[in-house]
């Protein structure tokens, strides 16, 4: 039984994570490196002279980018383990789990782990001002847990009370508010910060759709093999 969990999570998580790592290197990393030029002071926004929006960036760095791909694969394997655990519980209660329904699970995962916390703690470029990291992590976990329960209630709830609780769980962290910095100190142009957040969300959504689809597919396939 546990084999089915492990095979599904490792295959789906590592495959989606590898694609995510590559997507991040193509779409997110150049924006991050651009921001770091401002963080380090190499470029100065609103300095004496106008700065080109297209500086030379470092190319592929085997150590740094290799570690990024590995950690992306680990991160998405972790997410997939949680997703598959919940898929198994849903299947136990009559839900159909396969590659197609998995796409919906992936979108719900994106909302839970990226969009819900990111709505108030937007994906940050290096160098931005932010509140204490410990406080933000507590808010992040609380928001993710609330959003996860809300997604479950929206999908499997059977009455307005459950759907109402889901809406409250989704809205509450943002009404209470995320930990914010006292003053703004970010040296990075707003164009770069905005592009970074948009790219992080876009790559996150693409990856989560793959995570859900792969997880559903392998879960169904491994189930058929165990039973047949």
């Amino acid at each position: 039984m546990f084999q089915r969990f492990l095979i599904t999570s490792l295959f789906a998580g590592a495959a989606a994570g590898l694609i995510a790592g590559i997507l991040q290197l193509i779409f997110v990393q150049p924006v991050l490196l651009h921001a770091e030029l401002y963080e380090s002071g190499e470029l100065v926004h609103f300095g004496a002279e106008a700065i080109s929006a297209h500086p030379d960036l470092h190319g592929f760095d085997a150590m740094r980018d290799g570690l990024s791909v590995i950690f992306t694969m680990l991160t998405y394997t972790g997410y997939t383990l949680m997703l598959v655990a919940l898929m198994s519980v849903a299947e136990e209660n009559g839900a159909q789990i396969d590659g197609r329904t998995g796409i919906l699970w992936g979108i719900a995962g994106f909302v839970t782990f990226h969009f819900a916390p990111g709505l108030s703690l937007a994906p940050e470029v290096p160098g931005v001002a932010a509140a204490d990291v410990g406080a933000r992590q507590i808010w992040w976990w609380a928001t993710v847990i609330g959003a996860g329960i809300a997604m479950w209630l929206l999908a499997f709830g059977r009455n307005w009370t459950m759907w109402g609780v889901a809406v409250i769980l989704l809205a509450a962290p943002h009404l209470i508010g995320a930990p914010e910095p006292d003053v703004f100190t970010g040296p990075v142009p707003t164009e770069i910060g905005a592009l970074f957040a948009a790219r992080a969300f876009g790559v996150g959504l693409a990856t989560w759709v793959l995570v859900g689809c792969f997880a559903g597919y392998f879960w169904q396939r491994e189930g058929e093999r165990e039973n047949g």
Partner: protein, 56 residues
């Protein structure tokens, strides 16, 4: 009675692996996304930013 016990132990047999899988998942996310130890933070730095974890 026997049927009930069987059903109960069958669902428990599925619930335990699910719980363990979820726990391993949480542990992995904590390591890659949250632990602030310098070596882990530096290695995972770009991923934490790109994945929207609170970083510094």
């Amino acid at each position: 009675m026997t049927t009930m016990t069987k059903t109960l132990s069958a669902s428990r047999a599925r619930f335990v692996p699910a719980l363990f899988a979820a726990l391993i998942g949480v542990a992995m996310i904590t390591l890659t996304g949250h632990v602030q130890a310098a070596a882990l933070h530096d290695a995972a730095h770009d991923v934490r930013h790109a994945t929207g974890f609170p970083c510094h």
